[in-house]
């Protein structure tokens, strides 16, 4: 058999031979990173909302249940932010096995990334909530909204907009860091690359390709999220209505498009 001799020949050869493998790995990496980020975001949202419920007034015993929940949530956040995800995956996957639960690795992978991301998101979202002027929350309560209604309608939309860059960052981190899941044999991009490299012992060429794929993924995701942010900011102009009945007399007002 005629093997390639130069670097580029090897790259072409490996792409040709293992293209499908790279594609599968990329797909799984994106699946794990995306679902992990979305589920992690939802976990973080829930944790952050619960953490901001005002403590009830009156006897201390009425505050006890909420205090206990807050304590448990703090433990969750500290533990998952304070240990590496590679260790968490070992503990969770083999721990579950020890108590008789054999999780499909893909499910385990999504679970681990979600829980891990949730801990970071909880802190990020808490920061976002704090960034929204608390007068707006008071105004919402003052017209009769409940804590939940004011959070969902007023505070969180603005909090989430403010933390979009951090959420995007978490997504990018997850695309890259899902590679540690190869320790529990999840067929993501890094794992697939390792098996592709093994056959011909061409580690440099294979991981050069792998690096390029990761870069394309993270770059694309960053751009898409930037666009999404722009969209969330809403229109930079608004319409002044001359009178209620005559919409033709309306004037459009354009603001200076702000650039970062």
């Amino acid at each position: 058999m005629n093997l390639p001799s130069t670097f580029f020949e090897w790259v072409g050869f490996l792409l040709d031979k293992y293209g499908a493998l790279f594609l599968r790995g990329t797909g799984i990496t994106m699946l794990v990173a995306l679902s992990g980020t979305v589920i992690g975001f939802l976990i973080g949202l829930l944790v952050a909302i619960v953490r901001t419920i005002p403590l009830p007034h009156g006897h201390w015993a009425r505050r006890l249940p909420l205090r206990a929940v807050h304590f448990l949530l703090n433990v969750y956040v500290e533990v998952f932010r304070g240990t590496p995800m590679i260790v968490q995956s070992m503990v969770i996957y083999y721990g579950a096995m020890q108590i008789g639960i054999r999780m499909p690795v893909l499910l385990a992978a999504i679970l681990i990334v979600s829980i891990n991301t949730g801990a970071y998101m909880a802190e990020i979202i808490r920061g976002g909530i704090i960034s929204v002027d608390k007068g707006q929350k008071e105004a919402a309560v003052a017209i009769g909204m409940t804590h939940w209604q004011s959070m969902v309608n007023v505070v969180l939309p603005q909090a989430v907009r403010n933390i979009m860059p951090s959420i995007g960052n978490e997504f990018v981190v997850n695309i890259k860091d899902s590679s540690v899941l190869n320790v529990i044999s999840v067929g993501e991009l890094f794992f697939m690359s390792k098996s592709a490299a093994g056959t011909y012992m061409r580690y440099f060429e294979v991981f050069f390709i792998t690096a390029c794929i990761y870069l394309v993924l993270t770059f694309t995701v960053t751009r898409i999220l930037r666009l999404l942010e722009k969209k969330m900011d809403g229109k930079a102009n608004y319409t002044i209505y001359g009178s209620q009945s005559d919409s033709k007399s309306s004037i459009r007002v354009n603001e200076e498009e702000e650039e970062e």
Binding site: G135, A140, Q149, N153, V154, T239, Y241
Partner: protein, 245 residues
Amino acid sequence: MPILEIKHLEKSFGDHQVLKDISFDVSKGDVTCIIGSSGSGKSTLLRCINFLEEPTSGTILYHGKNAATEWKKTEYNSKVGMVFQSFNLFGNMTALQNCVVGQQKVLSRNKADAEKQALRFLEKVGMAEYRNARPAQLSGGQKQRVAIARALCMDPEILLFDEPTSALDPEMVGEVLNVMKDLAAAGMTMLIVTHEMSFARDVASRILFMDGGVIVEDESPAVLFTAPKQPRTQEFLRRVLERQL
């Protein structure tokens, strides 16, 4: 019968007592202005009335029923509206949405009715043209007028104003005060903390002068501005009026 009765209201932050034994009634159509120097507890009083701050002791009766225990908090809050010094419009919504969201979520009105009501009040405060503008695109006076419309949309029985013009540039104060004058003329019951003495004199049916967490004097504007009884009131008015009138 008064609609709102404040009885022996007290409020402390830690061991700092800010409100001491505050009692007064508000009847339908009353325009009550609260004046007093900075730190005398005016904002705290308004915030206790709609439970943005939990009173330390005392009771608030609304239509004869205890507001803290016999009324549902959200219902009571929708009946007692509030306009803030810093407007506090919802930044993620247009002027119209600011006026609609409470009606939909709290009063369960449908969208069409809520928008009709919102436009009616935006029209009243002269902001209907700006219905699609976001708070960041409005001037201070415009924001405050939208905030008043937002409060009115809930069909409140009483409106609380906490220095509604203090954060405004001088040329915008008039537009907001005019809206409030119209409301007073239309019979709206209002409780207004203000530093605008000429407004208080012209519009109020009654003035409360607060100092050090107590109501020092409770009089009609005619009496309070011309013949205040308490030395503390006299001193305060002398200081303020020589600057303002």
